[in-house]
Symmetry: C2
């Protein structure tokens, strides 16, 4: 089952050097989820051929412009395209007013249902779940209410062992039951435990998005052993003081979170516009955590 | 004196085919004026190397998203860059609320004075003038209050005739007086009429921006003999009915306005996203008015 993250924009507040403000698309089995929506996100989607109509949920980390100024344009395009499918947008308090004021200007009738969920960014809570993913907030430490999001795979499919099934005379009509991890009863009345016929589902995969935040080890507990962590690294390693003052993180700090949480892979972004070239930031992160990668725009991380 | 218009974006509401929503930069002797500010305008400025700090006035035609959704991001970048110079934004009623709601979210202190002028888009009135240009509103015919803007050169510099000056014994200390079209009195008490020493200033150049609007010949009177007219041409010539319903214009309609107003040159834009290639729209406009040109992004029109 496909589970990947596409980076649409990974610069910090000032768009610069061809880099764009924050936005990512999570693709789970061709269901798309958008995370943050900086200015120009809809154009980046076109550029990277993202099928935007497939997005049904948008998760906003906080209400700084570089994470939301693309939202009015994207929603307007949905309206102009005659979208009919409902859309849900999640984010901290104030999201509703921002959307309503920016959209009401045009006095356009909504052709689809728009659900706006204002969430308490200071709480750890599961705010969404469908057949693919559950989404849990992670409180972050920024100038205004901000939360990260943990995306966890919920699908647990047991894998059929065809030889065992044949041996026990279990035909394909029982496969869906077995995939759900349920036992079966054959026509002759015999019960067979599914463990004899299947191997357990692989561990659920997970991705966490943590931007923007000062270095805050209290989030580690929520990130334990996840597959991919996006953690902001606005500044290089020697700028810890400045990062802290601005409620941002350095490369080393992002990598320390990743190492403490024992994640499989780290990707860093939200690069300061002071850096024309960001390659050295990856090297810095790897000094602490070897599986560190830049969140370059257009790049896809498979989970 | 340089007087030119750079097209940053000239697509209609849905960004498509690599084209962007409306925005133009007027450069008068390296003083920059921004007209409309669709999503992504600040990135387009970077891409085309526009020195955005030189912009002191922004003119918004109307409050549809494809003309304003780049404003919050641009203003935020000015704030982050520590701009100190005052900035004025002109546009129809509602502009203030849009800017205040979108900017107040970040609760950032303004490092510069931001003046927001809400104008009556239904009136013809001069709303601005500096040493370079005067700006006059032109009421347009759109779904919401919308105005075009007429930019007229105000500088009238008389040109010194060096041979005549020498002949009359008029030295360079009198040149500034003569350039203003004033007569001079020499040290020997003799008055000399400036007409003997100068030739008249060239006619004032002018540019008008008319987007978005249904075909409306009542605007022609305001556009008489101007040098360059930007007029929207959202649709091709055979779509007049649809254009009218949506309060937009066709290529032929834009060209008819240009011809009636006897402008020197027409440029058309605000192309519908239905057109992958827009070259044929230029041909259509030229059927009516030969000096018609596409407003292609990145193109500069000298006036």
């Amino acid at each position: 089952m496909k589970f990947e993250v596409l980076i649409l924009g990974s610069n910090s507040a000032l768009p610069a050097h061809g880099r764009h403000p924050s936005s990512q698309v999570i693709n789970y089995n061709d269901h798309l989820y958008l995370v943050d929506c900086g200015e120009g996100t809809q154009m980046r989607m076109s550029y990277f051929q993202v099928k935007r109509s497939r997005i049904q949920q948008i998760f906003i980390s906080h209400l700084h412009g570089d994470h939301i100024f693309g939202l009015p344009g994207l929603l307007t395009s949905y309206i102009l395209n005659g979208r009919t499918q409902a859309l849900s947008v999640y984010g901290p308090e104030g999201l509703r007013r921002f959307i309503e004021v920016t959209l009401n200007l045009s006095a356009i009738q909504m052709p689809f249902e728009l659900f706006i969920f204002e969430i308490d960014a200071s709480q750890v809570q599961m705010i969404f779940s469908d057949d693919n993913l559950s989404v849990t907030t992670i409180p972050l430490n920024h100038r205004i209410p901000t939360c990260g999001y943990l995306f966890q795979e919920v699908r647990k499919v047991y894998h059929i062992l065809p030889e065992a099934a044949e041996k026990f005379g279990v035909d394909y009509t029982f496969y869906e039951t077995l995939k759900r991890g349920e036992n079966v009863q054959l026509k002759n009345g015999v019960y067979i435990n599914h463990k004899l016929l299947t191997r357990p589902p692989r561990p659920c995969r997970s991705f966490a998005y943590c931007s923007d935040t000062a270095y805050d080890p209290s989030i580690v507990v929520h990130l334990k052993n996840i597959d991919l962590l996006y953690h902001e690294a606005t500044f290089s390693k020697e700028m810890g003081e400045q990062a802290s003052k601005r409620y941002h993180s350095t490369t080393h700090e992002a990598a320390m979170i990743a190492r403490s949480a024992e994640v499989k892979k780290l990707t860093i972004g939200h690069f300061s516009s002071r850096y024309v070239d960001v390659g050295f930031l990856e090297k810095e992160a790897r000094e602490i955590f070897s599986e560190s990668y830049l969140a370059l725009e257009g790049q896809t991380f498979e989970i």
